[in-house]
């Protein structure tokens, strides 16, 4: 599809700065900032994972074993905030930083200094959030959805949490502005929008979603802050406000947020499956339109999270049907991935294994989502472990698996060395078994009526909880292998070729491995 001029990567005289602070603290290089994002994301993944293990250890048996209920609630809240805003989103921003300039033939991101600022806000935001564990009253414990009036009972941690969320939002908005500006203005000559790799497309659409909804979350938490400290009554019923209104505002952000975490995952999988099928992606343009349709629909489905708050029947019908509509563009994507693989020369390297698992397991999460979309049935499922199983299927073997697939796929391009394939495959199989043992039984727990966010439960739920906890520890400890594989590539001996994978196509594979510090000083020629 593409070719670049000989001068494109021969003239990379710029070397990274030698000093630690100059290289990492003051960096404006998209690859260094991408690396920082990815390391930060992995750190948050392990911290959030540790909190998940506290939750699963407590739920291993009925009764209170290890932690008191208040701390348990802090763990569920902090686990969610860390995983959503600290692990998944920064991982995709890291991938965007590394890959978008290389994929569109640009030398760097359009706004490199703002890029540095977007990243370096995050460690401060999350340090502040995590340190609320040490404050009187403990860390936030009202759930990541921050519903008032419950969340207003948070102790001294409350304003710190609000400030941390504002910082995360500012970071995300700056990151998205950078992505949009880069894609719209820095593409190599001849790289029309419909020639862009799918990963770039999905990120472009995701960035627009972020700009529309992160300010809404910021507005919601600002109003919570003024309700608690400045005497306003946005959500205070005693003052004429409406607590349910918060849920509307929150989910206007919250539902697109789900797609913010999954659209770039679609992009990753759309890059990997054609490579290991040795075929072009089936239905490229339908993939682009499906992504845009999902993004549009994500704005008009929010109240399906709130069926049980009481809603006119017309409202229930609208949100039920609009939610079900999302199945159509999503099915287009699943169909296209399967058709890409159909009659392809398939090989099953680790990135492909994670991608195939993504397609299968994300579909399970999608189907349970359809079940939850049915308003009358949702009255039964609402706030049960069925919901927990549903969104974890979407986010763990969905978003997280795609991040792992992306890491394995592009790691040799980043480090210049191949990773240990045997260890990679072991990591995949342990993760696959672990994640299903962890989350599949939670469907049954939910259907049997076990509520979410409880530290104790009746003995009838004991068996499935025990199985789920065993899966959690298996999945959790398997992730140490992920670090070992990354290390095996960083310190590896086997030099990666420029193309790395023999079916790989796209501008990033025309660069040497490891990719030079500045990608394309001369714009490549796109045929």
């Amino acid at each position: 599809m593409t070719e670049h001029t000989a001068a494109a990567h021969d003239d990379h005289h710029d070397e990274p700065p030698t000093g630690f602070a100059e290289r990492w603290l003051f960096t404006t290089n998209h690859k260094d900032i991408g690396t920082l994002y990815l390391i930060f994301s992995l750190t948050m993944f392990f911290m959030g994972g540790l909190m998940a293990l506290v939750i699963r250890a407590e739920l291993f048996q009925p009764g209170l074993q290890f932690v008191d209920p208040q701390f348990f609630n802090s763990m569920t809240t902090m686990h969610a905030l860390l995983m959503v805003f600290g692990a998944v989103m920064p991982a995709f921003v890291g991938l965007a930083n590394w890959l978008i300039p290389m994929m569109i033939g640009a030398p760097d991101m359009a706004l490199p200094r703002m890029n540095n600022w977007s990243f370096w806000i995050l460690p401060f935001a999350f340090s502040m959030l995590i340190m609320t564990l040490l404050l009187p009253g403990g860390a936030p414990a009202g759930g990541w959805t921050l519903y008032p009036p419950l969340v207003l009972q948070t102790g001294d941690a409350f304003p710190f949490m609000v400030f941390a969320i504002h910082l995360m939002g500012a970071s995300s908005i700056m990151g998205s502005i950078n992505v949009i500006v880069t894609i719209m203005n820095m593409r190599a000559p001849g790289m029309t929008l419909m020639k862009m790799p799918l990963f770039v497309w999905t990120w472009l659409i995701t960035a627009y979603l972020l700009i529309a909804v992160m300010p809404v979350l910021a507005g919601a938490v600002t109003m919570l802050l003024t309700d608690k400290y400045f005497g306003t009554s946005f959500f205070n019923a005693a003052g004429g406000g409406d607590p349910v209104l918060f849920q509307h505002v929150f989910w206007f952000f919250g539902h697109p947020e789900v797609y913010i975490m999954i659209l770039p995952a679609f992009g990753v999988v759309s890059q990997i499956i054609p490579t290991f099928s040795r075929k072009p992606l089936f239905g490229y343009s339908s993939m682009v339109y499906a992504t845009a349709s999902i993004a549009f629909l994500s704005f008009i489905v929010w109240a399906h999270h709130m069926f049980t708050t009481g809603m006119p029947i017309a409202g229930q019908l609208f949100f039920m049907l609009s939610t079900m509509l999302i199945a159509i563009p999503t099915a287009v994507k699943i169909f296209n991935w399967l058709s890409t693989m159909w009659k392809g020369e398939l090989t099953f390297e680790t990135p492909m294994l994670f991608s195939i698992a993504f397609v299968l397991l994300f579909t399970i999460g999608g189907f349970s989502g359809l079940m939850l979309a049915i308003a009358p049935a949702d009255y039964q499922y609402h706030d049960t472990y069925f919901v927990v199983a549903h969104f974890h299927y979407v986010l763990v073997p969905g978003a997280v698996f795609s991040i792992m697939a992306a890491t394995y796929y592009w790691l040799p391009k980043w480090t210049g060395k191949m990773y240990n394939e045997k260890l990679g495959k072991l990591h995949f199989w342990l993760s696959l078994v672990g994640v299903n043992v962890l989350f599949f039984p939670q469907h049954f727990l939910g259907l049997a009526g076990m509520p979410r966010r409880i530290p104790d439960y009746p003995t009838q739920f004991a068996d499935f909880n025990m199985i789920s906890s065993v899966g959690a520890f298996l999945f959790g400890f398997s992730q140490l292998l992920f670090v070992a594989v990354i290390w095996s590539s960083v310190k590896g001996k086997q030099q990666a070729t420029d193309q790395v994978w023999d079916g790989a196509e796209g501008l990033e594979w025309t660069l040497p491995s490891p990719a030079p510090y500045h990608s394309f000083n001369e714009p490549p020629v796109i045929k």
Binding site: A110, L111, I173, S176, I177, I180, V181, M184, N185, I211, A212, V213, M214, P215, V216, A218, G219, A220, T222, M223, S233, F234, F235, G240, G241, D242, L245, V249, F252
Partner: protein, 38 residues
């Protein structure tokens, strides 16, 4: 006459301004909407 680079820089500045204003409008707009509704 602006060079190609200058034209691109102008486009970049314009895109940034539009996106920042969009974000600000969503922030302020939703607070205003909530205030009017509650």
């Amino acid at each position: 006459m602006l060079t190609e680079t200058e034209q691109r820089d102008r486009r970049i500045k314009l895109t940034v301004v539009v996106l920042v204003l969009t974000a600000a409008a969503f922030y302020g707009g939703f607070i205003l909407l909530t205030a009017l509704t509650s």
